[in-house]
Amino acid sequence: MSVSVAAERTGGPPHGRHRAGPLELAGLRRRYGRTAALDGLSFTVEPGRIFGFLGPNGAGKTTAMRIVMGIELPDAGAVRWGGRPLSHADRLAFGYLPEQRGLYPKMRVRDQLAYLARLHGVTAGQAAAAGDRWLRRLGIGAQAYARVEALSHGNQQRVQLAAALVHDPQVLVLDEPFSGLDPLGIEDMAGVLRELAHAGAAVVFSSHQLDLVEDICEQVAIVDRGKVVLAGAVHTLKQRGSPTLVLEVEGAGADWYAGLPTAAVEHVAAGRVRVTVCDADPQVVLDRARAAGQVRRFALEEPSLSELFLQAVGP
């Protein structure tokens, strides 16, 4: 049975805080010895949006999330919510999914969810009901009385997500939430995140699955060495990036694309060549192709998020 998130978010959050506003990380700095994990990291997540937090390993994503959740302190900088500094009480309205398993392995799933909900100020009755609801929503209702350690990796991840959602948070901070999920699980979890954002929650998550991020995120920030190197709406970033020309030409020699900044040349059929060109004037390329042979395909493609990522943090 599928239950919409919007339908579940009835009566408002149990923690009693109704601050709708952006989550803002401003100039966060954090050092570990001589290593700067965060070096002036700043970005903003609007409510009702899904925000992808991307970066190579060691870029500072987890550190930033832990600072948001109050687990670590920044050396400098501030985290604000709704324009005001984030307090501990505010964090009761946050849901957190750590990168590695953040559950008691020997505790029963249902009890675990109820316990974590109560830590966020939910009453015992509401906590149990919310736990059951989320377990059903995430397709693991049958495992409610199982111990976490007895579940598969994917189901443990579902329980972890349920634990982050069980107190009806207004902000979700998820560190690699799709890790270990099969395609069905990914689709299911992505659907849940979309519904949460639609219901008004701000969702920020990190992931290395860039295709997935491109699919479900409206906004992203790419970090490298503790700094944001690229941020903005996904479609804006893609439009701003250098488009790629893809041409398939028949009956042309090999010399027509000589001198062009080709990214790839591929023989797709007898006498037919697919040429990918970057950073070139489309009209010039098209004219040269038409002069050389018959143009069967001509496409101007925006860069993918993976390409933007590689451009931003690549060597």
Partner: protein, 348 residues
């Protein structure tokens, strides 16, 4: 949620989950069985350990000797089982095989095995020997047999104890020893369970989830670490016994040296707590007022917000500041004329 409610909730989970563990119940049952045994067994042993002295007599015993021996045995906390032995050889054999504890030989001497003689039996032998010697003196003095018997049957003079004697002292000692061992085992067992619970949380990231909802110590009195973390959300931090510190924030870039701190300058040191790789923002009480030592570049600057505000510096005192080491916070007092041992001035 109040701190007390959070503590109750966390503790209740620990108790509830522990109560669902078979290991817990088996361990607790074993300990309880040990407690019961420690109480019952010494009491039973104390009861059965009332000693029976096996006394043999060879030849004719003086009149009234039997009742004297019984009285002596009772005085030693035991009973006497007296039987006649046919000959001195049989008595010797009985002593050697430990069938008898002592033998009264002809009413004139007492024989014990010697080697491995029970101390209580040796004590009884001395009492009986003394009894025989007195009887012999009385007979030699011409006292009639019935008067000698009457003399020995007289009630003994009362013995008064300055400190009342509690019955079963030996059993009590055994209970204390056993109880101490059980207490140690209980502490070790339950302590290991608590440790395993902590390890369970540490080995997973569940501690992060908990800490995102529950503060490790709330509300703490404030201080440098707290100040710069919550500076903007906390109007005023008022440590109960320290200068007011507020509005501290770290503006260092991590590379430049400290600003406003000189070698030899008086500073107030505080300790900042580090746990594993998590800075918990728990500052411990004032560590002392002292002078800056070492290379000033070791310090990282936390600039004051404005005139009159303290400058705070911190310096890791381990090889890494992301492990369980901590670091010193040096808060420069506003009064540059402060002397060692003097409290920094109260800031407005």
């Amino acid at each position: 949620m109040s701190a007390a409610a959070a503590v109750r909730l966390v503790a209740a989970r620990e108790v509830r989950e522990r109560g669902r563990s078979k290991v817990f119940w088996v361990g607790t049952s074993v300990l309880l069985a040990g407690v019961v045994a420690a109480i019952v067994v010494p009491a039973m042993l104390g009861h059965y350990r009332q000693q029976t002295f096996r006394v043999g007599t060879v030849g004719a015993a003086p009149p009234g000797l039997t009742s004297s021996v019984i009285a002596d045995a009772a005085a030693l906390g035991g009973t006497a089982h007296i039987r006649a032995v046919g000959s001195a050889a049989a008595a010797r054999s009985a002593l050697e095989t430990q069938a008898l504890d002592l033998v009264i030989d002809g009413g004139t001497a007492v024989v014990v095995r010697g080697q491995n003689t029970d101390p209580a039996a040796a004590g009884l032998a001395h009492l009986v020997a003394l009894d025989l010697a007195v009887r012999a003196r009385l007979r030699a003095a011409g006292l009639p047999a019935d008067r000698i018997r009457g003399t020995f049957s007289a009630a003994p003079a009362p013995v008064r104890s300055l400190i009342p004697v509690t019955p079963g002292t030996e059993a009590s000692k055994a209970i204390v020893v056993a109880g101490t061992i059980l207490l140690y085992l209980s502490l070790a067992t339950y302590g290991s369970w608590v440790t395993s619970g902590v390890l369970e949380e540490k080995s997973s990231r569940v501690a992060e989830v908990i800490l995102s909802a529950v503060r490790p110590r709330e509300p703490h009195p404030g201080g440098a670490a707290h100040s710069w973390h919550d500076a903007e959300s906390t109007p005023a931090i008022r440590p109960p016994s320290l200068p007011r510190l507020r509005g501290l924030r770290d503006t260092s870039d991590g590379r430049s040296g400290p600003r406003g701190l000189e070698r030899g300058q008086l500073v107030e040191f505080r300790r900042l707590h580090h746990r594993l790789d998590m800075r918990m923002a728990e500052d411990l009480p004032l560590a002392g007022l002292g002078a800056v030592e070492g290379d000033a570049r070791d310090y990282r600057s936390l600039d004051p917000l404005g005139p009159g505000w303290p400058t705070a510096m911190h310096r890791p005192y381990g090889s890494r500041d992301d492990t369980f080491i901590g670091c010193l916070i040096a808060v420069v007092p506003g009064d540059r004329d402060a002397r060692p041992g003097q409290r920094p001035q109260q800031l407005p």
